[in-house]
């Protein structure tokens, strides 16, 4: 039953990918079109898998279905980096922003932020994940405020550069970095996937998990860092896309009705791929690029979030 559902999702994802690849094909420019479209599909798959996987694991660690890793404040740090670069270097930044070094610097700073949080709270003997998230949230707000402040005082033309970075976009992904990102994300996902049975047990609660021999605190700490890297890579590649994970992780849980992470991780990734491919098709073919995809995703995700809040509050 579960396998069949995963099969259906795979089928839909493949169909959409095929549609995206061949729609409005111009046979004279076929080679060029195929290559650029394949690159875009790869970028979407990378983003989808990292967001889907990291959100499912994050929700299991926090026992909370309405959280996403963005609560750690990584998105705000990302925006802060973009803003401060434009603020300091002005319109010359467009060149900088396209460079590989900038990509690595962004990842390094985001991971550094997560690692700093981790050192500050976990290393000192505290084992409270929620305290860490709260501090992340507060710092995230701090960085957003700083960013908005700087955005107010810079040149409006330069602000457009930042605005471009505020929403995830697959239209101009730096293709040089795709291969490297693929490797990083694949390694991290394989690593996470090896813990899938532990996640199953962890989802029935800490005490039961410890009783059953799960090194609970160790896994929480380790996964926190792995998730941070995963989110950092995907954000640096395409930009922040907050609600996608919330949407797809919950849809995966609703659709499969299971605690088994083997299937949950796969379904969340596939649903994310479907959402991104579908969204991108709509953006390109219906709105003719007038709206960034994350606006659509955030809109749908936001509506679903409100639905979840209402539904969960009725339960209590």
């Amino acid at each position: 039953m579960l396998k069949r559902k995963i099969f259906i999702l795979t089928l839909v994802a493949l169909l959409l990918a095929g549609l995206y690849l061949f729609i409005h094909m111009n046979f004279q420019a076929m080679e060029y079109l195929l290559r650029t479209r394949l690159e875009k599909i790869l970028a979407m798959v990378l983003c989808a898998v990292s967001i889907g996987v990291s959100t499912v694991v994050f929700q299991t660690l926090t026992h909370n279905r309405i959280l996403t890793p963005s609560i750690m404040g990584l998105d705000s740090v990302y925006m802060f980096i973009q803003t401060i670069v434009v603020f300091l270097f002005g319109s010359g930044t467009f060149v900088i922003m396209q460079s590989d070094a900038y990509f690595f610097l962004t990842i390094l700073l985001m991971v550094g932020f997560a690692f700093g949080l981790y050192q500050l709270l976990f290393r000192r003997g505290h084992n409270n994940l929620f305290l860490l998230l709260l501090v992340g949230l507060v710092l995230g707000t701090f960085f957003s405020s700083l960013s908005s402040f700087m955005q107010m005082i810079i040149d409006p033309n330069e602000f457009l550069l930042i605005q471009d970075k505020m929403f995830a976009s697959f239209t101009n992904v730096n293709t040089d970095l795709l291969l490297l990102s693929t490797v990083i994300i694949a390694v991290l996902c394989v690593y996470i996937f090896r813990y899938r049975h532990y996640f199953d047990v962890m989802s029935i609660g800490r005490d039961h998990a410890v009783n059953l021999g799960v090194p609970y605190e160790k896994i929480v700490k380790r996964m926190f860092l792995v998730i941070a890297v995963l989110v950092a890579v995907s954000t640096a590649l395409v930009g922040p896309i907050t609600f996608l994970g919330l949407l797809t992780a919950n849809l995966a849980r609703e659709f499969l009705q299971t605690f088994r992470h083997t299937y949950l991780l796969a379904a969340a990734s596939l649903l994310s791929i479907i959402a991104l491919l579908g969204g991108q098709l709509i953006v390109e073919r219906v709105f003719s690029f007038s709206t960034p995809i994350s606006v659509i995703i955030n809109f749908v995700g936001g509506v679903y979030f409100i639905y979840l809040l209402i539904k969960e509050s009725k339960k209590i």
């Binding site: 026992h63 199953d200 029935i204 609660g205 039961h208 009783n211 059953l212 021999g213 799960v214 090194p215």
Partner: protein, 251 residues
């Protein structure tokens, strides 16, 4: 044998457990009794490494509990705490399957399935095994959790108020089952229990706690005495011998 040496635990500045030393013998039921807030559950949590003590050491068969691999411990000692809320949609059988995790690491073998079926049969939940936990009554759910602990097949079983939510019939069945586990399989069982008469009739030894310390400990008959009980509960309790059982009347 479980040996606790000078265990202490603070929550903030409040001392919940103070220099508690206790030995629990193998192959017996030991009941921990005492008023609310005496520290019984905290003690059991520390013995089973769910909670780290601030001071003192727990030895399980001569080895320090907090220095052992969690996975190995899970095959020797199992604990079930009082409140067991699972938010997910799980069937009884799926829940009980978790008990085999220390052995199977998630991939159940034929032998595991066998143990799971046995555990479910022990608590009489065969007909409900495919029902979801949230469709069960409180007592049925409690029995499902106990089946999970049984499936874990450990020498030591720690149960924090296992009779919670159980009606009289199932409470008696549960205690008889625990007795059977001790007699047939030589398990060692530690209970936190509030019903003094269940403790009196079914346990071999009793440890009485109050305000974070142990105030009485010994074979059941030595503890179920009016004067000892008075010092534990501040309550006048008559003890009668009824068909070889010591029954307390405190109503």
């Amino acid at each position: 044998m479980i040996v606790a040496e000078k265990l202490s635990k603070y929550f903030g500045s409040k001392k919940v457990i103070q220099d508690v030393s206790v030995e629990v013998q193998r192959g017996a039921i030991t009941s921990f009794i005492g008023p609310n807030g005496a520290g019984k559950s905290t003690l059991l949590s520390m013995v089973s490494r769910l909670l780290k003590q601030d001071d003192g050491i727990v030895y399980l068969d001569g080895k320090n509990v907090h220095k052992q691999k969690s996975k190995d411990l899970a095959k020797t000692i199992a604990i079930l705490r009082q409140s067991n809320v699972v938010q997910m949609k799980l069937t009884v059988r799926e829940l009980v399957s978790f008990g085999r995790f220390p052995y199977s690491s998630g991939k159940l073998t034929q032998a595991d399935e066998q143990k799971i079926s046995e555990a479910i049969a022990y608590v009489n939940l065969e007909e409900l095994e495919d029902k979801y936990l949230n469709e069960l009554s409180g007592g049925q759910r409690q029995r499902a959790f106990i089946a999970m602990v049984l499936a874990q097949d450990t020498d030591y079983i720690l149960l924090d108020e296992p009779l919670n939510n159980l009606d009289m019939k199932h409470a008696v069945q549960m205690m008889k089952l625990l007795r059977k586990l001790v007699e047939d399989f030589g398990k060692t069982i530690l209970l936190v229990i509030h019903d003094i008469n269940f403790a009196s009739v079914y346990s071999d030894r009793i440890v009485a706690m109050k305000d974070g310390s142990i105030i009485a400990e010994g074979p059941t008959d030595d503890i179920i005495q009016s004067d000892v009980l008075k010092s534990i509960y501040d309550l006048d309790i008559d003890v009668h011998n009824i068909s070889c059982n010591r029954i307390c009347v405190y109503f």
